[in-house]
Amino acid sequence: MQPTSANTPAQSPPEKPGRWMLPGLGLFQGLAVTGRNMVQSFYNKERMTTVQYPEERAPISPNFRNFPFLVYDGNSIDNLRCVACSICEKECPPQCIYIVLERDENGKSLKRPKIFDIDVSVCMNCGICAEVCPFDAIYMDGEYELATDDRFEGLLFHRERLAKSADYHMKLRPEQASEVIARRKAEEEKKAAAAAAKAAKAKADAESKKAAADARPADEKGGDA
């Protein structure tokens, strides 16, 4: 289909098409604009947007994301939510997370990260780790004053530096945190209910087996424990 260029000669932006303008007029319009800005920058808050940084601070929006942080329930660091499944290490685009799973002496995993490093000089705070983490263990922080003079160790955040409490998360992003807490509580109940149901079923089998065992007590001593 041919482009239906309507060819409606709309008026050129501000004034009638090709209006004859006194040569100097455009220059004075420009001067008028700068003049108005010069005068209004003294009283019009709309125009004067600069903020004197160290004294005043511009408010950051609620879901501003800077570097990630690990969430731990309660108040001690050792009940981190993170189980060192290292999904985030695989998904992280610049590969700046480094996790080593903690194993006890005979090699059984303790579902806890012994080392959890994030190289903050490489991280581009894209938020993919927080998105893919199935255990709500890692979220994006809002703190942005992190300047250090040490280029290597200063920018390598270890587990202690990264871990922050759940109520810090609640304070930082109320609706996201409350939603996470609600979801986790729901999962707890579901798990508890499932456990209870399993326990009940196990008890029910035990009784039925016991009943069966009572039914034939004579022929076998053991009976299940």
Partner: protein, 197 residues
Amino acid sequence: MSVDATDIQTSIRAALPDVEIFLRTNPGPSGQHSLLVGNGDLLGVMRFVRDELAFDFLSNVTGIDWPDPAKADAVASDGALRSPHGFLEVVYHLFSTTKRTGPLVLRARTVDRAENCTIPSVVSVFRSAEFQEREIYDLFGIVFTGHPDLRRILMWDEFADHPMRKDYVAPDDYEYEPTPHGEVLERAQTHYPQTAG
């Protein structure tokens, strides 16, 4: 709106009698089938497509490296396996600004990946290919015969290798990173022994 590759192929065959042009169906849901054109009549097809079929806008020229041809035929195949060894390929996406028709996809392949990987340059028909062909020459190593000014465009002139090829080995003189892991860690440790262990 999208273009029906088959009738384009028939119209090209009608106009240019002994042209090597084969339909390549695209298994994916996008439905953008392509036409593989022999190197010999690439320029003829391009000129025909531009002048008669009004595809006056060559939007995109992509270089692809196919070390094993099976993968290439999986992506755009007509069933028969065409070439026994790996090759380099260039895909052209053409559009028509007057008829507003969708991408006509043409493909051109080099003979092999080592010595004679040359494809005739279409700059004489479409000026928009000039920089894109230079980039493909720079990153893939396809020599475009007839290009007015074939030099490296992104890498510096003394750079020897072609980085976008699949068998390209990146130099490993990384600046030391505090959290190297995986093969990055091993390579970093070969450079910085004190960090090993």
